[in-house]
Point group: C2
Chain length 406, copies 2
């Protein structure tokens, strides 16, 4: 029997309890032993809950109990999670977490601590909910040099963009819709400003390139500026707007990373990732393109990933599963040097602004859509962000700028 | 240094050599040691080839050399691969293979032999080329009971169906096209009759359900009967025809398995898997739906999967990676009992056959498309295969029957 403790009895914590109970038999077979929940740490009491007798309020009860071999941290936030996780590792317990802030901020250090002690620090559920991506990156794509990793990593924003595109809603209505459905928090900033996706791509990039990618270094732009008019143009082009979180290695050397809305067409593997689903696209130098798709959040899918980590930790007691994520910082390319094609809308019409646009941008591809008048829309050739910014300062009446990935 | 031997210097064998050389540095880091090719077994000589001095013609040289810790079998076919692989395991060497016939036929036995000896028998490349699917099934989806596993597992047939759909080609022209592109063999039977996909779904089903699924038991139907008229109807419905290889657990109990063309709509995650790409859809009872996508064949993607297995075997010398695939046979549901909706085309028109159709099938959904006359097309309600067959014997002029998955 392998005793575990769960830190946090919220949505994911109770999902873990449910999964361990629903699939107990097959989990036992796969882990090679019975997994038993000995403690659940939470501030609250849960009178009448089947787990009520396992609830404790003091982390030290868990830390001091040498029967507990695996600690499952599903509280979220950096503190006190970070302190608790470190203490657990120091006490010789492996740790599983679903906590993206913790992993993005302290992943390299916690992995090192686990390795030094022949323990494991696993975090499959921290990115992409139930989608297996951390373990495939670590253990399946080992023959490749990763050239690109791009994800639709935030279900809330993907849902909002899908509703805008499919139901013709404007941003605010789609957001309210998402809040009603329980897909968006009352304070949705972390999602719609791109911060959630930013932490997740920081984790994936650190694993893909084996070095620390600080999330603070990643250029991050949310979806709050996307309007229903942008969506109308996207449709006219046969394209969709998606919030991409990307790390790309250029010329086999420099890596740039960014979170931003982009226009993509049906030929992109992430084009069909709609609603609250997540998708992660990986390009390797020998495997070519692969894509992983599934529920990026939700109680049971996330709990499924947490429990899969518990099974892995149970099979690897006292044996570290090697993960390459050095604490050495990866210096990202200055975002100003990164080149893209840009979709731009400006006030005016082809008579009034066309000449100025071609002076500033050279040859552009004009985009038109029915019903939209009083503006001029086009796609530039590939130019650096810096160049774009310089041109923007000379151009009045800019309505929209979206990067193009086709 | 870890010495390996490669059995077979064909497309995949030379791909493995190329990947090990191209990405040698990062592979060394991930494997924890240098991987060195000591021998390559092949019937032919390769004068002038950089590997020419490593070529041997006698398997015993490899078997008797205790320096060789990992044997990579990429010859294909059951014999002599089966004999060589068994001998290698008996000599204490871990084995990697890309050989679907070998794994489908003898997988359970070879896994047992490896486990008894604390060795590994790994076969990621046998299904889905470069797509990580075997390892995710074994190690990532461990918290779930698998309810369904469905793949587009054959690139050749998917390419043919894509060309028929996108370019309006008929079957024979699309097949010749695939042969010209090198995507189809001169004798394409194994692909177009569904046998290749059948062996692959047998492997995936055995892993998903933990018991032996014999490929001979799987109902298998190829794509040779699909016509451009079927495709025209599919388009009229907003659907696509795909060759699905499926195992489905019904009522939490009985598993049925089949390889057959099906009609799907855009809401299915495999809808966008086109051309030579493969996709594998997995439904678990807690994770929900996940999908894996990538190159299902090709020299480098397949070699990438083989090398990832080499890295895993190198990290687990003398430590078996647990795989649940018992030799106990899984009895599949009699295909006659399986229910589907069916798309059916018959000669005639709504005036001449409609009454007979509703007598035989009850209420049906009529399907029409422009340009096609002289026939009547419809979708039945959900009925058992047996019932369909009985009705078919009473119905003249059947032009086409395709299962519907929406």
């Amino acid at each position: 029997m392998i005793n575990i403790a769960i830190l946090g009895y919220g949505t994911i914590g109770s999902g873990v309890v449910e999964v361990l109970s629903t699939n107990g038999e097959s989990i036992k077979k796969r882990a090679g032993d019975q997994i038993d929940i000995k403690y659940i740490l939470d501030l609250k009491e849960f009178p009448g809950d089947p787990m009520m007798e396992k609830i404790v309020h003091d982390i030290n009860i868990i830390l001091e109990d040498s029967d507990v071999m695996i600690v499952v941290e599903v509280m979220g936030g950096v503190e006190p999670a970070y302190t608790f996780v470190k203490q657990a590792l120091l006490k010789g317990k492996s740790v599983i977490t679903s906590n993206k802030e913790l992993v993005a901020t302290h992943g390299a250090e916690l992995l090192d601590m686990a390795k030094e002690r022949n323990l494991n620090f696993l975090f499959e559920a921290s990115v992409g909910g139930g989608i297996p991506i951390i373990r495939p990156l670590n253990q399946s794509l080992t023959a490749d040099e990763i050239v690109e990793i791009t994800g639709i990593l935030n279900g809330t924003t993907n849902y909002i963009l899908s509703r805008m595109s499919e139901d013709g809603l404007d941003f605010n209505t789609a957001l309210q819709n998402a809040q009603k459905m329980g897909y968006a928090e009352r304070n949705p900033a972390a999602d719609i400003e791109g911060h959630d996706a930013c932490r997740k791509i920081a984790i994936l990039s650190s694993l893909a390139f084996g070095m620390q990618v600080d999330f603070e270094d990643i250029y991050t732009e949310g979806i709050t500026k996307i309007t229903d008019t942008d969506i109308r143009y996207a449709k006219a082009m046969g394209a969709r707007i998606k919030l991409f979180a990307s790390s790309v290695k250029e010329n086999d050397k420099h890596v740039y990373a960014m979170v931003a809305p982009v226009l993509i067409k049906a030929s992109h593997p992430l084009y069909s990732v709609n609603d609250v689903f997540n998708g992660i696209f990986v390009r390797g130098n020998v495997i070519g393109d692969v894509m992983f798709y599934g529920s990026g959040a939700g109680k049971l899918p996330t709990a499924s990933a947490v429990v899969a980590d518990i099974v892995d930790a149970a099979k690897h007691l006292n044996k570290n599963i090697w993960t390459i994520w050095s604490s050495k910082k990866l210096e990202l390319t200055d975002i100003n040097q990164v080149q893209h094609r840009f979709f731009i809308r400006v006030e005016g019409n082809s008579l009034t602004v066309k000449e100025q646009i071609s002076k500033l941008f050279g040859e552009v591809e004009e985009i038109t859509t029915e019903d939209v008048v009083g503006e001029y829309a086009f796609i530039t050739s590939s130019i650096a962000e810096q160049e774009l910014n310089e041109i923007k300062s000379k151009l009045n009446g800019i309505l929209s700028v979206i990067r193009v990935r086709f």
